[in-house]
Amino acid sequence: MSSVQTTAPHSSLFFGELRKLPAFARRDLLVAWSYRGAFFGEWIGLLTGAFTFYFVGLMVDPKTLPSFGGNHASYMEFVAAGIALGAFVQLGLGRVGAALRGEQLMGTLESLLMTPTSISTIQVGSAAYDLIYVPIRTALFFVILALTFGLTFEPSGIGPAVLSLLLFIPFVWGLGVMSAAITLTFRQGSGAFALGVSGLIIGSGAFFPLQLLPHWISSIARFNPVTLAVNGVRAPLLGGGWGGIWPDALLLAPVSVATLALGLYAFRLALRREQRRGTLGLY
C-alpha cells in the first residue's frame, strides 16, 4: 500500500493547494472550448450590443456628457467602460455563481470533496479560469472597440484602469460565491440575486451619467461599488493619469475584500449545512 504523509507543515500545505489551481483552470478551459458555439456566440452578442450603443451614441450630444480631464468624450467612449464592466459583472457573477452549482448538478461536487482538497481551494479553483479569462476578455473588448469605432483612450490611463479592475474582481467574485451559497441552500434564488445585480449595474452610471437620476438616487448610487469601478476605469481612460482614481479606489478596496470574505464564509456555511443535512447530492 502506498505510504502517505500524514502531516505537513502549513506552508507546504498552502503551496500544495496553490499547485492545484492550474488543474481547475485547465479543466474549465477545456470545458469552455468544448462549447465553441457558446464561446464565440458570447463575443458576437457583446459586439452586437456595442454596435447598438454606437448608433444610439450618434444621437447623443457629447456636450451633455461629463468631461474628463477637460475633454468631452463621445457617447461611445463614455459607455465603453460601462459595457465592459457590465459584461464583466454579469459574466463573472454568472460563472462564479454557477460553477459550484454546476458541480452539484453534474454530480461532481462530491467527487471533488472526496479529494484531499480544501474547500477554499475548490472555491478559488472553480473560479480560476473565469478570474483569468474575464479580465482578459474585458481588456480585449476595449481594444476591439477602439479599433472598430475609432475610439480614443488615454494610454496613461491604462495602468489606473487595470488597477481599478483588479480591485473590482474580489467584489464580483464575492457576489458570485454568495449567489452560489444561496442556490446551494435554497436550490433557487439566483434569479432574484441576478435582478439585484442588474439594479446595481443600471444604477452605476455605466450607460448614462448618474446626474440624470433623481438626486436622492444618484447620491446613493455614488457609493455603489459598480459605480466606483466604472468611474475607476472610465475616468483614467478618458482623462488620463492616476489622480482621479484614488478616492474611488480607497472606497472600493475594503468593500471588495469584505464582499469576498462574506461570500466565502456564506458558501462555507451553506456547504457545511448541506453536509450536515445530507442533501449535498440533491438538486
Partner: protein
C-alpha cells in the same frame, strides 16, 4: 429488531490497528426517515467486507458517512484511525471511492483529462498525473478510449473510469457502491478481480451491493442491513446457514405416470427426507423438492431412483444465499 450475528463487530475495546474501517452504532436520519439505526461493522486490512442490503437499506448513506461526506447523528466512524468528521484531508488521501452513479465526471472532457484533473487534486504533478492516469486506464481496459469525451462513454466504461480514478493513488481503503450493477458479467468479473487484487496487496475494501451472486467466493465478511438496521454480521457461509431448507427443481418420469398422479408416489419414496410437489409454473414432469434441514440432496435422489423414478434434470430453485437474504431482510425480522 435483533441482529443475527456470529461475531458482533466493533465494540470500542476491540478496535485495533488491523481494523481499518470501523463503524460503531452509527445512526442517521433524513427528516423523519430513519436511514441508519445503530449499524456497526469493521473491515480489516486486506479484507473484503460486503455491505449487503436491498434498495434503500442505507448502504450508500453508510458509505457517505465513512468517507466524511455526511455526518452521523449518533455513533462513531473511524477509517485508518481517523475520524471522518475531524480529519477529512488525512482520510481522503487514503480512500478510493467508487460511487454508484455515473454522475461523477466532467462529461465534456476526455476520460484521460478527467483522471489527470483528479490526480492533480491528490497532489500529483501534471507529468506524474498523466503517467499514472494512463497506467490505471490500461489496468481497467480503457486505453484507446482515453481521448474520448467521458460523456460518450457507455455506462460500463464510465464505471471502469470510476474504478480507474479510485486506483489513482493505490488507496489503503476502497469504498465501493454498487460497482457492477450496470456492467455486463465479464465487466463485473474484471472489476471484482481488480478489487480482489487490491485487497491482496493490503487494502481494506467495503463493497456495497444488493447482488448476492457477487459476494459468494469474493467477500470475507458480510454485513446485511435492511431499512437502516443491521440484520446480520458474519461470514458468507454463516449467512447461508440462515437459508430456508434447500429447494430444487426436478424433472422426473415414472413409466406413464406424470403430474399430480405422480406426486404421491414421489412423496412416498422420499419419506421424511423432504417434501415434493408439482412445480406451479413448470410442465407435467416438473416438481419442486424441498429438503428438510440437515438432509443431503444425494439421499433424496437415491430414494427417488430406488423407486424407479427417472431423473432427467435437477437444479437449485433459488440459491441458499438468496433465501437467507430474503429471510433476513423481511420486515418481520430474522428467523427465531
Amino acid at each position: 429488531m435483533p441482529v443475527t450475528t456470529s461475531h458482533r463487530p466493533a465494540t470500542s475495546a476491540a478496535l485495533n490497528a488491523e481494523r481499518v474501517i470501523e463503524a460503531l452504532d452509527v445512526s442517521r436520519r433524513f427528516g423523519a426517515k430513519r436511514a441508519l439505526d445503530g449499524v456497526s461493522l469493521s473491515v480489516a486490512r486486506g479484507e473484503i467486507g460486503a455491505l449487503l442490503g436491498p434498495n434503500g437499506a442505507g448502504k450508500t448513506t453508510l458509505l457517505r458517512i465513512l468517507c466524511g461526506l455526511l455526518d452521523p447523528h449518533a455513533g462513531s466512524v473511524r477509517v485508518m484511525g481517523f475520524d471522518a468528521r475531524h480529519s477529512p484531508r488525512e482520510l481522503r488521501q487514503r480512500i478510493g471511492l467508487i460511487p454508484s452513479g455515473d454522475r461523477s465526471f466532467y462529461l465534456r472532457i476526455s476520460g484521460l483529462e478527467n483522471l489527470v484533473f483528479f490526480a492533480r487534486l491528490h497532489g500529483l504533478s501534471r507529468r506524474a498525473a498523466v503517467s499514472r492516469s494512463l497506467e490505471v486506464l490500461e489496468v481497467v481496459g480503457l486505453r484507446g478510449a482515453e481521448r474520448q469525451r467521458a460523456g460518450t462513454y457507455s455506462h460500463g466504461m464510465q464505471k471502469r473510469l470510476s474504478v480507474a480514478r479510485a486506483l489513482l493513488l493505490e488507496p489503503a481503503v476502497m469504498l465501493i457502491d454498487e460497482a457492477t450493477h450496470d456492467l455486463d458479467p465479464e465487466g463485473g468479473r474484471q472489476v471484482r478481480e481488480l478489487v480482489s487484487d487490491l485487497a491482496r496487496r493490503g487494502a481494506a475494501v467495503l463493497w456495497a451491493t444488493q447482488r448476492l451472486d457477487e459476494i459468494r467466493g469474493f467477500a470475507d465478511s458480510v454485513t446485511l442491513i435492511s431499512e437502516g438496521e443491521m440484520r446480520f454480521a458474519g461470514s458468507v457461509p454463516e449467512l447461508m446457514s440462515h437459508a430456508l431448507p434447500q429447494r430444487y427443481l426436478l424433472r422426473v418420469q415414472n413409466g406413464s405416470e406424470s403430474g399430480k398422479a405422480l406426486e404421491p408416489l414421489l412423496q412416498a419414496a422420499l419419506a421424511d427426507i423432504g417434501t415434493i410437489s408439482i412445480a406451479a409454473d413448470g410442465g407435467a414432469d416438473d416438481f419442486v423438492l424441498s429438503l428438510r434441514e440437515h438432509t443431503a440432496l444425494g439421499d433424496a435422489l437415491r430414494s427417488l431412483l430406488d423407486a424407479d423414478v427417472q431423473i432427467y434434470a435437477c437444479r437449485e430453485e433459488q440459491s441458499q444465499i438468496e433465501d437467507a437474504f430474503i429471510r433476513l431482510t423481511a420486515s418481520s425480522g430474522p428467523p427465531s
